[in-house]
Symmetry: D3
Subunit: 331 residues, 6 copies
């Protein structure tokens, strides 16, 4: 019994396979009949709604949200969405199938990235800022969340380890920017770069799928992150008030404009540098992953992207004529 | 020696009078000469730049920012602004002239408003919320700031006591709204109404003039207020997490849209009710004070308002007198 | 033969039931064949397209738009929409099934609301305004439309009696606002509140479904309402011109901004108060009805709303801690 | 005693000349002293504030708003504006100086334009529309206002007769458009073109200066014009309802977008044609008058225009003279 | 074997017919299996995706993109889109079925339009501009593209010959505008009108369907057209620099605003006149074609248009009153 | 006779000094009298209007726009602007005073920057791109303009050599970005970085002041630069069409959005990377120069910036010196 592929489901098809239970609710139909309402996920991160109508209550006791289950059933179309109607749902113990394998993973070595960040932390000369950074990274609960969190729900770095990867890239860019502009306060800029998205460890959930927590939806990672940083800074003796203020400002303003959720525009040189470095990294990653996926499908243009409001140009990756050795250069 | 009236200054005029020192800087001209650069304020809240060129350093030692001073000098025009060039600046001790009198004051009885709010606090049934409110109002330092803070720098309730007045009005409106819509959580709505602008006690400064603090400019009263509320709620045992979340969300979202600085749109019924009640109160106050001022000047229309982007209609004739039978015509 | 439930239709299903004919057109297919193109509605207000291909012309003679019909047929999918292909369509006389029952109804007592409004009318001191109000409510044709009109096509108060309900709520809020701000002209504000949406009696149609009339689409209820009010005021002798102007302005500007269809921004204190009171009432109603519906389905968040551009937070209906008996209230 | 030229006033200068009284208010200074507050206008349409402090009350009795006066006094600067402080103000009877000469005039022959429009009215085949047009133009009070009204306060056709001139141009364009697109309803389009701005006869005032009436500010010429057209159409027997609706829609939507004050977007072919023809005429006139004025001052670019948000290119040299061989280079 | 009609395809249906191959890709499924991925078009311009799974590679050799093919297969639904699964695909030689017939055609006589434009070219007095125009129209390759290009991909004049038709209409309007405003440089305005959209001959492709070229997507017809005009003008001796500049500016700015892709706002009178004339023509054409199509379907309103963001009013095709013979005209 | 300082001009003051003639026009007053209308500039780049009324015509013959002149006269205020009324104007030959010295200069070593760029050019592996770059830098006329052009008229790098400095910084950032993202085409990205602003050599003028050329105003540096790059690429044999397209697209889209003048959004990964790198460099430079200037004036906040729409935070005190024990407080 192989792992199911949601992308390949067709209407009117039998389905046998293993999925992760991303959501599980025991509900009551209008007729009063109980049914089990599930969202199943495969390893690509795709999801499908599935329903169990027979013995829903006893079936529901056999597994939890976050479990892997082996199912049998069939597809059906409901209000223009493909769904599953399940006949059987069997719990698969985690020794047999690890739920974490159902989430997409970073291709980078997270240990190595963490070490890089640790080197940067060491290089921060201002002792208050360095102590603040260490208070985060010496907290194992935080570290574990920081290492595994995705960079976003869907837009960029949307995989386990993505937050760490994105942070390391922004730090690398800011290191360059600090070198180019000696008037910038390097310690402050790098501290801001490392901490700018720590709020995502509370904004997002990624146990069984990538989603927003309630706090994430209602407050957002800017406010959550600012609070995390501030409350740790408040516990460090002698931490200058103005430095706290500058750091809080960098976190709250790093989306750059009100439209993207920053309650304040960047008003310091370090804040504007952080915003642009962050934006550059996010956007280049979005573009490259969109283009890569389209190229694999042999397309010349990507689909129009709902947020970027444009299609991206892939170009003639494999040119129609036989490519010469240096075709890559020509492209 | 009477208090000076900045509104009446004319070019090329001798000036003798008392003013509040709203800003004081000892600066160096390009030629190397030291001069004292002041901003003086009168009781209307109007301000004028004034400069002392003779013995600037010794004069500067005679008083502080926030002092009342008696000055002699003359007006001069510099880059299209009227300024003062001062010959004499003498410190006036506060027994002789109270600096607080130089700030505009609420026309309401602040003690009475505070009692009204205290009654509302008592009526809050949810013990966590009530305890939270009491933790604010039993803190004398906070209470003092809350009682004296203006409601805004310039736009509405811009006078000592204005925050208290605005808060009481929003609470009165929300009481009505809670009565009309029983599905709303009255305790939560009123708690949010009372606390929605507490961040203004840190965003604004009003010792010697109404202005933004640095923290106010860089973080804003939404983030500052949410932090104040959250940190007090965190110290109350058993305060439900979801309730904290709903309250933080109300404070962060109460400006209603990103354009007005809310990082999140209101997403609960109490949050949307608070936003609209707050907006109604602020706007009606702005309109009434603009119209009142224009009517006193015998105008039919107000000046175009930079933020409202419109002139307001005052209309014909006076109406405060008892209307005669055909008052309708005059209206 | 029971009333059909459109929400429960499934692909590939036989259908037998009664529906209201919300639209009826006899059309010609490209092949030249005549067919009957219907929109059927059930009591929930949901609609489905249905087609009759056999003997379309003679079937069409058996009933009118607005009739209740008993149908037999089957579902089919056409361009991703579920439709009905009908074999039989039989007219059901209104004694047997009242077409009005197919529209959603206000849960409030409309007679009582009307009496409340009548009391407010009596309390209006300005005789011209009072006479204007009476000219509306003594006109039985208007009253009948006003009592039955929905408050909007879909967004808020979208049920028979909704306009009356919404108006009464806005009046209640404005009564409070007038009490809080004595500088407001209470008579004018309440008159504006009562009349602000009278144009909806011409903008909307609700005989067989809630929709826009052609005049509603092309002119909107602001222009339609202003015309209704103005033409009645013009017939009242001695009605002051400025008062007409202020009232017309309130109606045209009550949506607050150009984006929401007001050709002029509110420029009087009564106009801004009306706008905000109206907006508060509409938005709180939208939020509460969205949240209520989602809570009934056991959801923690509503669907994203196309106009509000957000999902709303419902919260943990069954709280994680053991709830006390009245936990629901506290939430 | 020549007519004064406001554009040539300098600070610290004696002034003797004749001006039109565009505004006259007897006011009270804060000290209780009465003063006369005037706005004077010269024939270029420029205005200056002037004040009389001596015997203000008796001086005020000598003339009315709209009179021409002969003044003596001096310039003074007040809050960065040049003002006049008048010693003498003497009434000049209209035989001696006609107040109408103080307003800018159309360069076109208004009688001829009116005749052109009358020909177009005759060519309208639909009798209801023709009767509607005649009801306007046979009303002498309307005709007089229509002939003399400016096309706008400042933006385009801002001179006596400008409305008539603008209307004739829009009609000429629409005649062409109707000829090019036979699917358009020519009668309706031309009727809309003739009537589209009749509301300006009530929106603007031009007795002593070009300004907005109160009704103009509060309702705008779209709503005012639609009411004028509708109330006349309502008095014509048998005027089809749909035709009234289409015409009302054209007038309300002719500004094209909500941002420019149309409560509804154009939704008929005649409405969109009218909008674009009207916009073309207004914009080309604005461009040409800006460019002409700048060319007369020997400039290569106009000043940045506050509404167009751009400077316009005038270009090099004169071109009206017969070009020499190398005229191309000069262009 | 008749030409297929894509609009009539139903789920679960056999399909036999001829279509144009608008796109042809040989792709590899995730399993490694090769399949042929086609987009087929019928003469209405509608398109459907079709796939060949059997012998995809050899089938692919039988025809090219742009060929007409005779197919046999069946419809299937894939991710909510109707598709074809083809069993047979046979090449149809162009003698038997002309691919050009699969594209919609202008209803106008293109030869006649071209002659009209040639007359206008002759009437251009400025020899440099006339020479420039001739350099385009004496270039047969350009002329052929210009005669056949559509006016846009979908929005207006979307048929073979549409560019020529649109250009002729804009020229006709500009001729009128030049006559009305003698201050406009007629030669320049008409040259701009004729050349304003020549970039569309490179932006669009219309061999087998209307689409954007890669250059069209990445640069747009404004930049492409400006380059075409400029490079020809550069080859004409003595062409004045300022005239080149004015013409380039007209082409780059003719969309009127940044939102519609103009990198510069119109800043000359000829540029603003061209923009408005072009917009009028495009919009009136869009409105008329939408309304015409809806009227043919017996509808009173068009569907909401994604770009116009509104539905258009068609009106009561069959009027409630008995229509006279020419009722259509009156409507 | 020293160089005049415009910033220090006061009303009612004698003026003796040397200035650059940034504009020179011989004009005619309304009275018919000829006068000389000048704009003078000092070395700070500040400008003042100056007028010569005596012997204007003969004075005008003594010097040209771009000359340095020695003047004597006095300040006067005209319509709220300080002006000069000159009694004497004497030409100063360039041996005595170099006009170039009146322009602000880059603080960087332009020769060194050019060498850096030359190294980058050498590192470009793609021979077509390298040849294109060399075609620019081997053109001495271009090189001279490129070395001396400012980076913008006022916003950032507004000094002689600024374009070169800005380009070198963008190249440095892109080098880093290319290293971080190996999927990016490094050769293309660096070529785009080097050439992205070459259009500024035609958009701006900087002989006697920084201003826009007519072509700059009417076409902009994006269109001008794309044309420069394209016409050189067209002359390189075998330059792949797709590569030209990608490069043109990068230049046209590098402002990122329509609002900032890009007719197309970035649609390739290299284009988005270039846009963000360019934006980062421009914004960080703007922030740092604003903050530096304000700090020199001892201010805690900069003035509100018209384009950034915000004031920037400077903060307390100097920090570059070794902080004392209580530096935290001072910070």
């Amino acid at each position: 019994m192989s792992i199911g592929k949601i992308a390949e489901l067709q209407p009117g098809q039998k389905v046998v396979g293993r999925f992760l239970v991303a959501r599980k609710e025991l509900r009551e139909a209008r007729t009063g009949k109980k049914f089990l309402d599930l969202t199943l996920m495969d390893q690509s991160g795709r999801r499908v709604v599935a329903r169990v109508w027979e013995d829903a209550e006893s079936v529901a006791e056999g597994f939890e949200q976050g479990s892997v289950v082996a199912v049998e059933g069939a597809t059906e179309t409901f209000r223009n969405e493909l769904q599953l109607r399940l006949e059987q749902v069997r719990f698969v113990p985690s020794e047999e199938a690890d739920p974490r394998e159902f989430l997409p993973q970073s291709a980078k070595d997270i240990d190595a990235l963490e070490k890089e960040l640790a080197e940067v932390v060491k290089s921060v000369g201002n002792e208050h800022l360095r102590e603040l950074l260490l208070s985060f990274f010496r907290d194992d609960a935080f570290r574990e969340r920081f290492r595994t969190a995705p960079g976003a729900k869907t837009l960029h770095h949307a995989y386990v380890g993505g937050l760490c990867e994105h942070t390391a890239e922004v730090v690398e860019l800011c290191t360059k920017v600090a070198e180019m502009f000696p008037d910038l306060d390097r310690d402050l800029l790098l501290t801001g770069a490392i901490l700018h998205d720590v709020g995502k460890t509370e904004e997002l959930t990624w146990q069984t799928a990538f989603d927003y927590s309630d706090a994430g939806q209602l407050l957002g990672h800017l406010a959550l992150g600012e609070r995390m940083v501030r409350s740790r800074a408040d516990r460090i003796e002698g931490f200058p008030e103005e430095l706290k203020l500058r750091l809080s400002h960098m976190i709250l303003s790093h989306h750059g404009t009100a439209d993207f959720g920053s309650p304040k525009l960047p008003m310091t040189a370090e804040a504007i540098a952080l915003h642009h470095a962050e934006d550059l990294d996010a956007k280049v990653n979005m573009f490259l992953s969109q283009i890569r996926a389209a190229r694999e499908q042999g397309r010349q243009w990507t689909e129009r992207h709902f947020l970027l409001k444009r299609a991206l140009y892939v170009g003639e990756a494999e040119q129609s004529e036989p490519p010469s050795e240096d075709a890559g250069d020509a492209d």
